[in-house]
Symmetry: C2
Amino acid sequence: MKVPGFGLSDKALRTREQPISYLMAAAVGNPDLISLAAGLVDYESLPIEVSHSLSGQILQDAKAGRIALQYGTTPGLKQLREALLAHLCKMEECEAADLGLTADNCVVTAGSQQALYIISDLLVNPGDIVITSAPTYFVYTGTLSSLGAEVLTVPMDDSGMRTDLLEELLEDLERTGRLDRVKIIYEVSYYQNPSGLSLSTERREHMVRLARRFSKHHRILVIDDAAYRELRYDGPTWPGIKRFDPENRFTATCMTFSKPFAAGYKTGYAFLPDDLVDPFLQQKGNHDFGSCNFAQHLIHRALNDGTYQTHVEKVRAAYRLKRDAMVDALAECMGDLRDEVSWTRPSGGLYVWLTLPECIDTGRDQWLFGRCLEKGVLYVPGAYCYASDPAPINRIRLSYGVVDPTSIREGVRRLAAAVREALQHDPATGRGGAARSQPTA
Amino acid sequence: MKVPGFGLSDKALRTREQPISYLMAAAVGNPDLISLAAGLVDYESLPIEVSHSLSGQILQDAKAGRIALQYGTTPGLKQLREALLAHLCKMEECEAADLGLTADNCVVTAGSQQALYIISDLLVNPGDIVITSAPTYFVYTGTLSSLGAEVLTVPMDDSGMRTDLLEELLEDLERTGRLDRVKIIYEVSYYQNPSGLSLSTERREHMVRLARRFSKHHRILVIDDAAYRELRYDGPTWPGIKRFDPENRFTATCMTFSKPFAAGYKTGYAFLPDDLVDPFLQQKGNHDFGSCNFAQHLIHRALNDGTYQTHVEKVRAAYRLKRDAMVDALAECMGDLRDEVSWTRPSGGLYVWLTLPECIDTGRDQWLFGRCLEKGVLYVPGAYCYASDPAPINRIRLSYGVVDPTSIREGVRRLAAAVREALQHDPATGRGGAARSQPTA
């Protein structure tokens, strides 16, 4: 019998495989491959002793254990949400009232990704506009495509999204009668994925001011994806974008324990404006009516007894070494190419952003990517990080998250060797020499 | 400055608060209240010792601990999915090939609710039709409303959904040119929430046959919500609906560890047809790119070393006593009203379904509900469990999940006293006496 296919929904038809899945599949079967692509976190600094101690405390106490193994609530453990608010206030060096927040504005989610998903789903109808910087976090733009959003991008520089250009874009959208479609401005404001760069304080203030000014048809929400905020190694600090929204009207802040603590607990959180809380919880009620309760109890204890804070320091120290390993290796292996090759030196987070000459296409079906696989190193082609065409073809996202320092250095050496070959390589003939005089971009 | 509201998406506007939230809120502030409404699980039988032992095994082994605290994968831990397939095969007493399944058909989810959400989101455009029995699980029908589905219902009897009437409905939809909108047939096939009743074997086969026969425009999916399957106390057993779909084309089976093990791990799973797996994972990639990894490692160990199976026996024994406590108390307190009041005797699951005379409205704004709150007992008004109007007004869902046997008996006593008063009560005057001769329904 001929069996017809399923009648997939419009949304399912719009949803594409995340590009990272392809990359991960490419890595399978080569145990010697060094992945500078994976967004995984450092194994060595994962809190196994801390977790053993805290889970023991919970499960040896019959009452505490039973509460942790029972269903939680849709918004998440109340005491945890109170601790998260206190945690945010400590980072902001202010009172909750200065941010217009109470613990009821806090929701606990399945990582920060679920917060990004639900907030966007609450606001975006197909055809609505979300503005991001270019480049930006590609998992989120994949989600936006699935929701049918039109993603408009604003260039960034070393100080994050160019808010002067954001202002021009919003003025242009107003002039052309499309301002009513703008729902969200999204920024990874600390040590951005993929560039490692942060939004300057002035631009944080400017971004909120623009959201307020252009909230004419409805309110425009600034999503501050602060996933990497706590992974600071050196350099300046910045207030959260919400600091410039003292009445908590125009900003949602999304954070996670996946990076500073343990990805395995899949626990994130968000601070929302008052009138988004109930709509958010109604959606989350339909998704899962509450995230892993056991993980919430464990994280609550970690925050409360200070082991979390101690652990974050340890994580920072580990990543600082790895950041140094990557940046030092880049200088060592490609320092002489500084006229043609440049990279960021992040003061936090997990990513270095590499810019090659425009004649080198870093795409997964191109020569360089294949050569790197042969040499045993995997990177994320930068084009994935651009939500709108034409995307620059000559960028690379490198992560020092999961790989140990020795492998970071070896991975960079392999990459640099492939780049040197590419600079000599003629993509037309497959032989060396002409690429630099015959740019393909 | 006047601040406009957010421009909520059509979906957000369609999404309503789950009725259970209101009920839970009603319970706050009355510590003496006995909730026969809550769908929580038994505290006493939660696996705290088992969890302590297993988490200790994982976290004392540096390598195992690090893997469990790292990110997992979107489909879930491969070894767990293999164990889940073996677990299903053991329940079905057959080989995986007899079900057309491999471990790649299995996805691990944030409870079975996430599986229900994503499967439905994959298939349903606003205006599409999902068919459920009446009554059915109200959290799922709330999700369907949020997705914009039209929910059509088929009456049930003691053997579950009346598939003869399902056949008539499908024929009618075909005749009226609406068959192309039918995407899903949903059934809680074991110890249904809310009725406690199960779908007979004949009807399981018939349901799949109907899905196959009416898959003319596209394939119609039968969702077998088997959340309560493992909570069997006595009585017959039934094969899973998927047993009648040996090529794994027309059925998705959703299960959970929340009921038989620990709700606090928020871990469920589903077995999907081949061509739904990738679309499902793409959606899940956008939701959270994988559920709590630590919980998956823990559950995998529990399944593998047999502690899960031992624990389920303990859980069954505990609920069997509680089921008996509730059914015995109903007989004791309302046995003399058997002409007017009836209830189910479930052979598994967590729910008893009570039918009062048609003159008694059990709704939350009605006399009986208020009187029960005064007396200190909470129930779920049966009307919530009907997705389409007019809903019977005289039903009640009682749960013996979370309450201890003594409180179950006391709760039933309080409820019975209120029902006796209602039978004497005149809703027009607020005084007793006339309700039985002046039905309000």
